[in-house]
């Protein structure tokens, strides 16, 4: 299992995220979003720690309009946690590392 964050988009969201055997965290972001860029290193750090147990993806909302629309995303950063193809949790806005880590642990 690769450790780290991969890109996911409208094309492969179904296979990579919804059909994943492991729980998944998707970080919806865009290059113009300051807070998204600011929390990216935190998400990456946690991907390094939990990468074997949880799949971490980034989804650029500019390049992939369909998926954010499907999940009603109107604000970023939004982090959505998927388990068995279903949304199990969601965080909108900047989040402290400890809180994000707690939510990741809840997924396991």
């Amino acid at each position: 299992m690769a450790i780290g964050i991969s890109e996911v988009g409208d094309g492969d969201f179904g296979t990579e995220v919804l059909q994943s055997d492991l729980p998944v965290l998707v970080d919806f972001w865009a290059p113009w979003c300051g807070p998204c860029r600011a929390i990216a290193p935190v998400v990456e750090e946690l991907a390094g720690v939990y990468g074997g147990k949880v799949k971490f993806f980034k989804c650029n909302v500019d390049d992939n309009p369909v998926t954010p629309g499907k999940y009603g995303i109107k604000a970023i950063p939004t982090l959505i946690f998927f388990k068995g193809g279903n949304v199990s949790d969601q965080i909108t806005g900047m989040v402290a590392k400890a809180k994000l880590e707690d939510k990741i642990k809840n997924l396991l």
Binding site: C33, P35, A38, P41, G72, K74, A75, T78, K97
Partner: protein
Amino acid sequence: MEKVDYDLVIIGGGPAGLTAGLYAARGRMNAVLFEKIAPGGQMLATEYIENYPGFPERMNGVELTQMMVKQAESFGLKIENDAVLSTDLAGTVKKIRLSNRTVAARAVIIASGAFPKKLGIPGEDVFIGRGVSYCSTCDAPFYRGRTVAAVGGGDTAVQESLFLTKFAEKVYLIHRRDRFRAEKILQERALANEKIEIIRDTIATGIEGSTAVEGVSIRNVKTGETGKLAVDGCFIWIGILPNSAFADPALKLDPFGFIVADAEMITSLPGVFVAGDVRSTPLRQIATAVGDAAIAAHSAERYIESQKA
């Protein structure tokens, strides 16, 4: 004296904390900065900064943050990603409780900043991330060609409403008073912008929708007249609240919870200094935050030297 881990702990990584860190690191102090989310603070949510001197081409908040971090780290500042949960600051050894340990320091600079105040009206919490927003630089592009409401009358409300017009078709700027507190130059731009419709003497009383925001209910505070605006989003900029919950209860605060200090950034507790938006101050800008921080670092250094003497 009891052993300390650091001479100086800086709480918060916005412009004030980063500047205090720059001065402390450059002054070869044994200092550390704790930031709970990511360095930058409210600058991260600022699309452009045009009143911080030295950058005539509008500076983006993220870029300015990156430069401040780089500059402070170039002098050896340690920045740790950890949240300060509580502090015990009355004694000569200051205790700072983090998420998984407690550190001891001779002095503390509190630069923990502030966060946006909520309206506290029905629908606000329900629709956060689904139409309710406090950050136009994060969320404005989701409203391309749409109609949105913006609530507030200060600099942030007017500047961010102007930014919204780059995407939204129409922005209703709802202000509870007749006159705006915002800088004149911002007011002039808002008045000249045909996408902005200013609704004065009016408050938002509720945010409605099914799965996302569909409307905002309003009431004119002078006439009592009520109405509803059909909008796809509601941006709220009605001021800020201090991040001072972790502060030692012995620390003197103003009636709004901001930390009181004198001109040398010395608080009511010896060895505790404050800088930036969390301070009780008449103006909250990057320029004032970095000014506060330079003084706070200077005062902290003098205090630490006196303790070691």
